[in-house]
């Protein structure tokens, strides 16, 4: 199936000479949740802004559903909803008016029933006649989502949807995202909360310094780059590692009471059983063991650190 969003060799250099994007290629599949990770200033927002039409690209091409975002902007932008990073709202408007305005600006005829459904889905219905400035930060964020959904987009961009949002609301937001996906909406979210990507994304892209460093299925990524560590608490301390264990990737703790073995997530079947066998042969006993898997955060830090 053709990707719903296709980005080819995209570059952007701002007027002040800052190169925000250095040739990004990215294909987004219909119906997926893609998380774009990256530190501040990595180019995430610029990338989204170009796809949505807010920023002009310097070179390269972006297609949405087979249409060019510059030439066929009416077709592409009708398909896209954007929730910006900043809480930018018309403070003196009511929730109902601002969401209805969004629908109109996207060229859709008024549809009160749909707006009602969107507001109800986002638990905003009771606030429909309130002015936006009376709402809490979390509610304002949901108003922005409601505005972005008012014209029933096929692709939704969420630029750091949970920045500065408390834990409960973050969970709530994730549920909203999940629900949208069930309705077939393709979702692209940028975040620097790695747990967010880990929790809800299907694929993860890592951007740094204007380059897409990696784009991978989340599970594959965790398996490929995720490292596991086995820690054995020994019954009796060892003075040094016996030569018989030299073939294993082992580290002895300073006090000699614990052995650490690091291995790749996808080679688990090989090294651990043979290590345990070797320990028995060497007559080394342990009283406890634990394993730990590296998180997406470790992977991310390693990756960004490496290229920085």
């Amino acid at each position: 199936m053709a990707p719903i969003v296709s980005v080819e060799k995209l570059t952007k250099t701002y007027g002040n000479g800052f190169q925000a994007l250095k040739g990004v290629d990215l294909q987004i599949e219909e119906g997926e949740i893609l998380a774009l990770l990256g530190p501040n200033g990595a180019g995430k927002t610029t990338l989204i802004s170009i796809i949505c039409g807010i920023v002009n690209p310097s070179s390269g091409r972006v297609m949405v559903n087979g249409h060019d975002v510059v030439r066929d902007f009416r077709k592409t932008r009708s398909l896209i909803g954007l929730v910006p990073q900043e809480l930018t709202t018309d403070q003196f408007e009511t929730v109902w008016n601002t969401v209805s305005f969004s629908r109109g600006v996207y060229g859709c005829k008024a549809n009160p029933a749909l707006i009602e459904k969107v507001l109800k889905d986002l638990s905003l219905w009771s606030k429909k006649d309130n002015m936006i400035r009376e709402l809490s930060g979390g509610m304002k964020r949901r108003v922005l989502i409601a505005k972005a959904l008012s014209h029933e987009p096929k692709v939704l961009f969420l630029d750091e949807p949970t920045a500065g949002v408390d834990v409960n609301l973050r969970r709530e937001m994730w549920q909203v995202v999940e629900k949208l996906r069930e309705n077939g909406v393709t979702i692209i979210l940028t975040t620097h909360y790695i747990e967010e990507a880990e929790e809800i994304a299907d694929r993860v892209g890592v951007i740094n310094g204007g380059e897409l460093l990696l784009l991978e299925d989340k599970k594959t990524l965790m398996k490929k780059l995720g490292r596991k560590q086995l820690r054995l608490e020994l019954s009796a301390p060892l003075a040094a590692l016996p030569p018989g264990l030299a073939g294993f990737n082992l580290v002895l703790s300073d006090d000699g009471t614990a052995l650490m073995h690091e291995y790749h997530g996808d080679e688990a079947q090989g090294s651990v059983p043979s290590l345990l066998n070797a320990l028995t042969l060497e007559n080394i006993h342990f009283k406890d063991l634990s394993t730990r898997q590296s998180s997406l955060e470790d992977i991310f830090v390693a990756l960004v650190g490496e290229k920085a």
């Binding site: 701002y14 007027g15 949505c52 039409g53 807010i54 920023v55 002009n56 902007f73 009416r74 077709k75 592409t76 932008r77 009708s78 896209i80 954007l82 910006p84 900043e86 930018t88 709202t89 018309d90 403070q91 003196f92 008016n97 305005f101 969004s102 109109g104 600006v105 996207y106 060229g107 859709c108 005829k109 505005k147």
Partner: protein, 253 residues
């Protein structure tokens, strides 16, 4: 053409006028009434007539123009500047709307507001002085052309301005001297020859003169030249906006 979008922006902007009715409608009416009381009645009673027209009636077209210019520039600039300032402009820029439709929505609303206020002031004036309109059709033409031109000019300022000071500098510092020196309150024939010549550089002179001609058939410059000049300003503003849209000047970085 995204008619719904133009309608939405237009309605949204007009709603702002309703919401701020004190500031948008009542305040210009009060200001203009004060002008009539001070210039028209208090001082005007000591001036007999200007070119055969009572002074109060003579200044009416100029007063309408003064308010029309200020209002159109103000509304035209704030309409586009405010979303830029609050950041809500992202929505307009990411929506399937052409720049011409954005222009139509914002400038259409600004010009409509200006026209409404201009007509209210004309009605207010008729309470103070006797108004006679010799060429009603041409009066409307001058009114509409001026409203559109200066709303476009306001739109340019709104895109250009980076802060509120820049936004206000033209309506506060440039428009009042031009209007006062553009023959709103006197005929430039009353000036010494040198200042008469200087006045011809002032674009507002052509607006006021043409507009006054449509009322009393008296003019400082030929009404055809007035019309040509307004059309020229209109085209000038459109070209500047065309360039701004093409380059994405201060809108799409």
């Amino acid at each position: 053409m995204n008619v719904e979008a133009v309608k939405s922006i237009y309605t949204f902007e007009m709603a702002r006028m309703r919401r701020t009715i004190l500031q948008s409608v009542i305040s210009p009416v009060i200001t203009t009434s004060l002008y009539f009381i001070v210039f028209g009645t208090a001082i005007g009673s000591r001036i007999q007539t200007v070119e055969g027209v009572s002074y109060g009636a003579f200044i009416t077209p100029g007063l309408i123009m003064l308010t029309l210019l200020t209002q159109c520039i103000g509304n035209g600039s704030i309409g586009i500047y405010f979303p830029k300032f609050t950041g809500t402009i992202y929505e307009i820029l990411s929506a399937p709307i052409a720049m011409t439709e954005i222009l139509l929505g914002y400038v259409g609303a600004a010009a409509s507001k200006g026209l409404i206020i201009g007509l209210i002031i004309l009605a207010t004036a008729s309470f103070f002085v006797e108004i006679r309109i010799a060429h009603p059709f041409m009066m409307v033409v001058f009114l509409v052309l001026t409203a559109v031109t200066f709303s476009l000019f306001g739109f340019i300022i709104g895109i250009w301005a980076r802060n509120f000071e820049q936004l206000n500098i033209v309506p506060m510092l440039v428009v009042p001297p031009l209007t006062f020196l553009g023959g709103s309150f006197y005929s430039i024939n009353m000036l010494p020859p040198f200042w008469q010549a200087v006045s011809h550089v002032n674009p507002v002179l052509y607006l006021v003169s043409g507009f006054r001609w449509s009322f009393y058939e008296i003019a400082d410059v030929n009404p055809v030249i007035s019309l040509a000049m307004i059309s020229f300003f209109l085209l000038l503003c459109l070209s500047v906006i065309g360039w701004m849209f093409k380059t994405g000047y201060r809108l799409r970085s």
